[in-house]
Each structure stands twice: as C-alpha cells, then as structure tokens.
Subunit: 590 residues, 2 copies
C-alpha cells in the first residue's frame, strides 16, 4: 500500500531556512499579520486531516469511482463527509479574502497545504480547488453583489464551482467554441451548448454548483476576441442566498478515465440555462485566465504531491523488501537476503525522485513568493513579481508534472511486479498523476506559452532578470561541499542564456522555431531552475551540523548536480537542432 506522512520538516526547512518566510511576510505590509506559529498550526492540522481522513479515501475512491446515474453523480463513499469537514475546517477559504469568510493566508502558505492535499488524494483535491479557482476569478471580475452572494458559500463548501471551457471540437483552441449566450430582457443571458471534460460538473458534495462558462454572444467577433464569461448556477440563487429552481444545466454523462476516477469529469449540457455576465463582454478569456494561472500552479503541485507519496512508498518498500545481496559483501547475514537499498540502481531511482521533489517544493514556494508579491505588494515590486510569475507559471505546471509522472513511474519500478498490481497503489499514482501533464493546458501548450509569449516576445526581458539573480546565487556558492553543484549550476545558466538568444534569433525569420524548441527549452529552463533551488537549499544548509539533516541536504544537492542535472544537456542539443528537421516531412508522411 502507498504510505504518506506529511514532510513537515522539509516544508519548514524551505519556509524558514531557505525563504525566511517570517521576514518575507513582515516585509509586505498587507501580510505582516501572518504569524509563523499560526502557520505551523495550519500545517499540522492540514497534515492530520489529510493523513487521517482524506488519504484513506484515495484507494477506495479509485476502486469505486464517481458514478453517473440518470443525470445524478455520486462520489465514492466517504467523500461527502470529508468534503464537509474540509469546508467547515476553513480549508477552502484558507487563501481567500476575509470579507468573504476567508482566512487571508498567502500563497506561500496555501501552496504547502495544496501539496499535502494533492499527496493525500488528487481526485478529492479537485472538488475544492475548482471552487477556489472559480471564486478567485469571480472576486476579480464579478460585481460586489454577486461576490457577496456567492463567495462565502463557496469558501464554506456549501457550494462548489467549476470552469467550463472545453468543447468536443475545441480544447486548446478556445477561439472556435460554439456555446452561445443570448441576451435576455432581464439583463441575464440564455446559455446553450455542450462542454466536455468539466471537472466536478455534477456531484453530491454540495448544495449548489456554480459554473463559470465561456460562451459567445450572437454578434461576437470570430476567434478568441469574441468570448465572454458567464456564471451559471446549478440551482438559481435568490437574493437572500437561498436556492430556487433548478437551472437548465446538467450532466449528460461522466467520462471513463485512466485515473482520478473519483473525480467526476462531466459532459455538461446547457439548454438555455440562465447565466450572468462576469466581467466585460468579449473579455471572457482574460477573466478566465486568472483562474487558469491559479490552476496551473496547482497542477504542478499535483505532480509534486503524487511524486512525494511515490517516493515515500517506494523507500518504505525498498527498506523492507529483501532481495539479492550487496555487491560489496553481505549486509544482513542474519536474513535470507539484503534489503533492496543495498542495490545502487534502487537508490538511483529513489534519490532522483527525491532530488526532484525537494527542488519542486522549493520552486513552488519560490513562485508562490512572487505570487504573493504580485498580489500584496505595490508598484514596481508587484509589477516585477507579476512578470516573474508569468515566466515561471508554465514551467511549474509542465516541469513539475512531467517530473512528477517520472517519479511515480520510477517508484512503481522499485516495486517490481507488485508495482503493476492495483492493491499496492503505485499504479494508481501513475494513472492519477498522468492527467496533470494534460489538463489546464497540455504541457506542450505551457512550453509554447513560455517560449513564445514569455521569452521571445519580450526579447528575453523576463529571462534576463531571472538569470542575473541566479548568477548572484551561484556566486555565493563557495563551500567545498557545493563545488560540483556550483559547476553544474553555472553551466546550466550559461546554457539557458545561450539557448534563449539562439531561439530568439532563429525565430525572427521562422515562426515555427518557437514551437519546435518549446518543450526541450522548457526542460532546460526547469533543470536550471531546479539547480537554482538546490543552490538556495545548499546555501541554507552549509555549516549547520545539528544532525544529519543538513549533511544529507548537501549530499542530495551534490547528487542532483552529478546524476540528475546532466539530463539537461540532451534537451539543450535538441533545442539547438532547430525546426528544419521537423518540418521537412509532408503531412501525408505521418
């Protein structure tokens, strides 16, 4: 069975020793009431709830799945009670504005509780997360009247939320959606169309479900500039917040999927459903984008959360499982065989996953810090932070989910044949985490966003400040234990900088160069960022000798440098190869 214990010490290390969270929060006026002791209590409570209530529902939820019957979706046993507890405990509103019942915690806190939640149960996690995303989008674009009516109910878990974008023929390319919104005399809109892949589109966890729906007005311009955003409640909401009649929206079916089976992925039919415009006409994509950026960070965290459970489970298995003997002499003569941990290749898989996970956690926290600055700081600081977030969000989403998948596959491999058997839970991790690479913008789309909009379009303006900051960090790495890390890190920065320049030059004469380089470039960017995170962690660990914790951190940083980071070189050479070799084949060839 999969095992999970919240990595609280590693979380505190990142929070306090790497990012000096208390100082950070105190430096931002809007956050200076965030109290370190309260945060610690939050982390411990989150660990308790997730380990004891939500994690145990992960296996059974997979076996049982969400069930669809005549328009009604039933979640697996235990989900309803857990969702109630989750809402009542204030977890949905943890990062929300107190005016709507939220606890106002910054992303530098909620990113950690999100990780715990995704480790515990990714199917369950999606129900509250979609509501949080919808609420975030509403809070920035809906009227006060709507927000005051809806948001407290969403943050308490009484109501849930969704985002309805994809249609059967239109996923990545939302410009070609067909769902129509016709203005009604009362100022509302009549929404008609079919949406697919709607996470939590229908379920039994909440009294009401608030759908945010992209649709086109009859006279809307073609393409993505003609899309508006609408709020469509499952049940009409009266002015006092009580529920009225059922709206003309419902689930036509749920999808049968590879994983996250306890999460209901619905086909939603809108048959003249009453909807309310959110934000301005034809600016729906921008309004939805708030939510999508938020979700994208979460999908990276999903990769980390799964990979953390995968690591812990595989490490526990490797410790217990006796198989073969050490090549350097028997280690457990009293037993019929040594543990799997005597075999270097088992360690290779475990350490790679752990090195990825710890860098991922640090990278999420790093990005969260800039998210907090972009939201809570002011002026130039906030603007610069927003640029950094724009640059890093696609990397967090894609690189963490790619490496999270890899970690789950490697951990499954440690289990040998048992890894393929359902009851051990490892294959579920692989099936569940796979979606993180696909949804909320497939990883190829994230890479294209990075390479095109975030790098080439601004002529590497965002990259330059990031590179400059990394060079400073590398310059500070002067302990003998960090020598190999420094070498690898500096080489990575050099490589990233040169490749950035190269793609900008190539793409000036050939638009295809951006997408041809995108995924491999994103991986170069991701590896360089992980090296940066290991530099920050190593810096925080050097010279501390309380127990083996810090020495182990430095050893893993070194391991990352010599046995994980080198993968980057292949990706770099692929970027250098350019687009020509891809585009020379005719379409008929494929």
């Amino acid at each position: 069975m999969a095992v999970y214990k919240t990595p609280l010490r590693d979380m505190r290390f990142v929070l306090d020793e790497v990012f000096k969270a208390t100082e950070f929060w105190q430096s931002v006026p809007a956050l200076n009431e965030v109290d370190r002791d309260t945060v610690d209590a939050i982390l411990e409570e989150s660990a308790k709830l997730n380990e004891n209530v939500i994690f145990p529902l992960n296996r059974s939820g997979d076996e049982e799945g969400a069930q669809f019957n005549n328009g009604v979706v039933t979640t697996p046993a235990g989900f309803k009670e857990a969702f109630r507890q989750f809402g009542e405990g204030g977890w949905i509103g943890l990062g929300a504005d107190p005016r709507w019942g939220g606890a106002g915690m910054p992303k530098t806190v909620t990113a950690l509780t999100d990780e715990i939640l995704f480790s515990a149960n990714p199917s369950f996690a999606l129900y509250p997360l979609l509501g949080i995303g919808a609420a975030l989008s509403m809070s920035q674009h809906a009227t006060d009247e709507i927000n005051d009516l809806y948001l407290p109910k969403i943050y308490s878990g009484e109501w849930a939320g969704t985002m309805c974008l994809t249609e059967p023929h239109a996923g990545t390319d939302l410009g070609i959606i067909k769902t129509k919104a016709v203005p009604e005399a009362d100022g509302s809109y009549s929404i008609t169309g079919t949406k697919i892949f709607i996470t939590g589109g229908e379920h039994d966890l909440a009294e009401n479900i608030i759908h945010l729906v992209l649709a086109k007005l009859p006279d809307a311009p073609a393409g993505s500039k003609g899309i508006s955003l609408f709020l469509v409640p499952k049940f009409h909401v009266k002015a006092d917040g009580s529920l009225g009649e059922r709206n003309q929206v419902g689930a036509g079916n749920i999808e049968h999927k590879m994983g996250i089976k306890a999460s209901a992925t619905c086909v939603m039919n809108f048959d003249g459903a009453k909807g309310y415009l959110i934000g301005r006409i034809n600016e729906g994509l921008a309004a939805m984008f708030v939510m999508m950026n938020y979700e994208r960070l979460s999908m990276g965290i999903q990769g980390l959360g799964a990979s953390e459970v995968a690591y812990q489970s595989a490490a526990a298995y490797a410790r217990d499982r006796l198989q073969g003997r050490s090549a350097t002499g028997v280690k457990s003569p009293e037993k019929p065989a040594d543990s799997l941990l005597v075999h270097p290749d088992i360690r290779r898989m475990l350490l790679k996953t752990r090195a990825h996970n710890e860098a991922a956690r640090c990278f999420v926290m790093y990005t969260a810090k800039y998210l907090d600055l972009s939201k809570y700081a002011e002026g130039e600081v906030a603007a610069a932070a927003a640029d950094r977030v724009a640059l890093l969000t696609p990397v967090v989403k894609a690189f963490l989910s790619d490496k999270g998948f890899e970690g789950c596959v490697d951990a499954q491999q440690v289990f040998g044949g048992h890894g393929f058997i359902r009851e051990w839970g490892m294959e579920q991790l692989v099936r569940d985490v796979r979606i993180a690479q696909i949804y909320e913008g497939a990883n190829g789309i994230q890479a294209n966003d990075l390479m095109g909009r975030k790098v080439v379009k601004n002529k590497a303006a965002f990259v330059k400040t990031y590179v400059a900051e990394m060079r400073e960090a590398a310059a500070r790495l002067n302990a003998p234990e960090t020598a190999r890390l420094k070498t690898g890190f500096v080489a990575a920065i050099d490589r990233l900088e040169a490749l950035t320049q190269r793609v900008i030059e190539l793409s000036a004469s050939n638009g295809d160069e951006i997408n041809a380089a995108a995924v491999d470039y994103l991986h170069v960017f991701g590896f360089t960022s992980y090296a940066y995170m290991w530099a920050l962690m190593a810096e925080a660990a050097v010279g501390k000798k309380d127990d083996s914790f810090y020495a182990d951190k430095l050893a893993l940083a070194d391991y990352f440098a010599v046995r994980v980071l080198p993968e980057m070189e292949g990706r770099a050479r692929m970027v250098e190869a350019g687009a020509t070799s891809l585009m020379s084949f005719s379409e008929a060839y494929f």
Copy 2:
C-alpha cells in the same frame, strides 16, 4: 479509437533491403529452404488475422478483463475463438521444429509476426507466447518421450503452457524460493508451494495447461544452485495423450492489474501436485533460462508493438484534429483551424516515436539474425552469434520496452484530454505496455545483467566485436544526406567505448560501480545501437529514388541524429558520475 495497420512495407524494407534476408537464409544450410514468397504470405496472413480478429478484441478485452470465479478463469468474449483460430492456423508452431508439428520458421520471421501480434493485442499475445516459451525450454531439456507427448498439443493450441517462477517473497532473487519437490516412488515428484504472477496460470482457452515450475528438492543446496525444473500438467496426461484426472494444482486468485487485464495473472497453488523433472536436478535455472531469453526478446517486441499502434493512432488523430493555426501562416483557410500537424511540437513527439520504432524493428531483426545463427549455424559462427545474442538480449528487452512506454505516453499526449479517456484507447496502450518494463526481469535487472555479466565480466570482449562492426558501418556512411547521422553515430560509439572502459576500471575496486552504472549505460548502449540501425537503414536507402519512401527514411535518420540521439549524452554523464554519490546515504535516510 486506436488504429493499426501492419507496417508491411517497413517490415519488407528491413527484411530485404537492410538485412537481405533471402541471402542470409541461403547462407545457413539449415535455413536454405526458407522461401521469401512463403514468408511474404505468412506476413500477409498474420496481418489479416491480427488486424481483423485479434486487434478488435483488444479494447473489449480490457473492459471485460479476465474473470476469476471459484478457481475458474474466464477470458473475455472472443478470446477462445481467436485462440482456436490462432492455434489451428499454425501460428503457435510457426517457429517450432517440424517433428512436433511446427513450421520451422527462423526468428527472423517470427520476430515480425510477434510484433504484429503484440501490436494487435498484448493480453492475448501472452497466452500463446508462454506456451511457446515453455515448449522451447522443454524441447531442449525434456526427454523425447515427454516432448513427443506434449509439444504437438502445445503447438496446435490444444494445450497451453506457463512458467512458474515468482513467489510472494521471491521475484528477482529466485535463490530464496520455497516451493518444495519431494521425490515419489514412481520417479515423479510431489510439488507443494505457492507461485504468484503466473501469466495464463488458469484460463478457458485450452483443454490442458502445462506448467513449468521451479522448486527445490528437500536436500537441495541453498540459493540458486538448488533449484530444479518440473513439468506439472493441470490434467494428468495418459500415455496416448488423452487427459486423465485433475492434478493438485489450481489458481487461488487472479491479480487486479494496471493493464493487460485480459491476461489472467494467477496465484497458483501446488498442493502435492504430481510433477516430472525437466533436465537435471539442481539445474533448473539454466533450463528455464532458455525460455527466459526467448521471452525477454518478446518483451522488447511488446514495447515496439505498442508504440507502433500508438504512433499510428496519434498520427491519424493529428491529421484529423483541427486546432490552432500554423505559426508560419494559415495552412487550411477553408477550415476553422489547421490540423495538429502544422505544430512543430506535435511533429516532434510523432517523429521521435517513429524514429524509435523503426530503429527498434531493425534492432529486433538484427538480434533475431544472431539468434538464428546461434541456433542454426555451427562452430565458431554459432558461438560468436550466441555471444552477440547474450550481449544484446538485455538491451532489446529493456531499451525497447522503455522507449515503447515513452512512445505510448507521447502519443497519448498528442490526443490532449482525449488521451486520458478510456474509449480512445491511448491510455490502455500506456497501461498495457508498462508491464514490459517490469516482468521477465525488470529493466534494472536487465541492465545489471548487461553491465555485469555481459560487459565487465568478460572485460568487454563482446562489446569490442560489436564496436568494431559498428565502426565499419560508420565508415561506409559517406553520402551527404547521412553526414549528421555519421557524426552522431561515431560520437556515440566513442562514448560507448570510453564508458565501457571506465566502468570496467571503476568496478575493479568497487563492486557497486556495476549496478550504479547499469541503467544509464544500457541507455547509452541502446541509443548507440539505434544509431547503428539508422546507419544500416540509411545505407539501404541512399541513392534509391522510386518514391518518397527512401528520401523520408533518410530524413528520419537525420532527425534521429539531431533530435533523438542527443538524449544519450545525459545518460553518459550519469555513468561517469559513478557510485559514490549513491552510496553515501545511510539506509535510514530513505
């Protein structure tokens, strides 16, 4: 839905133009009656049967799964009839000795029909393949009496076969198995013990199931030198071949797995079952090894077979799916969007998979040629061929299954959200092919076998002849179209040679260096071998201009060199990093 059309032209290209099969068969006296026209008819019949009968059962077989009920295993609808057709068509005996009803076809033919079968339906494929493996082991180690009685029935599909190795506590490390074999007065043995992960241990496809079982005699030496091999039929077999009573062996359950759900993976209980010794006492592992080597090649072919379907399906989807516009200008102005094929990153995934697949097919055929020589040639030629087979078998098994998995994951990614939905069939490919990396010796074990027994132990004797041959092939690559391939190929050979030397040196003083290098070294070896195969294919294509087929081959060879092969460099650097960084952590750290 997944689509599959047997790649007959590519198969013929490899057979005739790359390996000049007819000349090859004629050069070996025992094979000089193999007729090219007959082989072509075999390939076409295989394509027909697999595309029309066996492939259509793949999706339904996954949904239905093998069912266990009170000791009885039922296969999905259609399997029984298909298995009957498969047996009656002579496909089980295609490579078998004519004295037992086989068609005597060489591996250079059956490797291709195996690929077709694994593309069509990996769950189904395992039922005949296990029988073929068991029969092969028997044909070399059992008495004529037993073989004459059993083998014709296995090759006709009337009976099936299994290999029973793994026990709950012992998979990779068979030295610690507990199953007992007690000699009986009549010369037979009473077998008692529990075996797990037994593919086809029980099912409804055949009248009888012949189990080959590893067990220990009461006075057997400890470890792997005390293991003997026994034949245990499900039903006793009378001297005339008719069936007697049920033997004391049966399935206790079947496993619920990630994939290959239509293949019954059984827990087998032997309760004093009557068994017959195969080969000599305490030499069971060697007798079983024949079968395992055979299976290992098949598991590599399984990776290729899945990845071929994945490629074809994703290419078809990419052609049809309209999404976004080309970065170099609209390509289909009459449609609402261009096809996915205008996007370089989609091509990147498709071409990588295709470049892997074509190299894999060529590598399988290359290895099959040496398997044929080792079996059908004589003297030094046969001995040298056996060495080459020993060297390449772990690479074929592990590298092809690793790259096959990667190909399925990439193809799934091309489908976006639809790739995660069961009805599209892509997620099944991923779930099914995953097992090929795990069973028949997990890929880490294959790598250890390569690095230890096949490379270090003989001081690179096997590698040296292989490298010398590759250098000759590289020297022949002198067309301008192959310039980049030549550069990459030569660099890869240099790298492989240097790394081989380095691991031999390092491991002289530290036994852990072998396993620490193993997986990354196997990948370096695999990439270099694929570069070799692309060199052979390019050589066969240069100067031929009948249609775009040959120009496309050269373009894909070039693509492989500049955008696939560079991955090798990261692996090479990881090998260079050595074992120290892995072994410095205490067991408690994990």
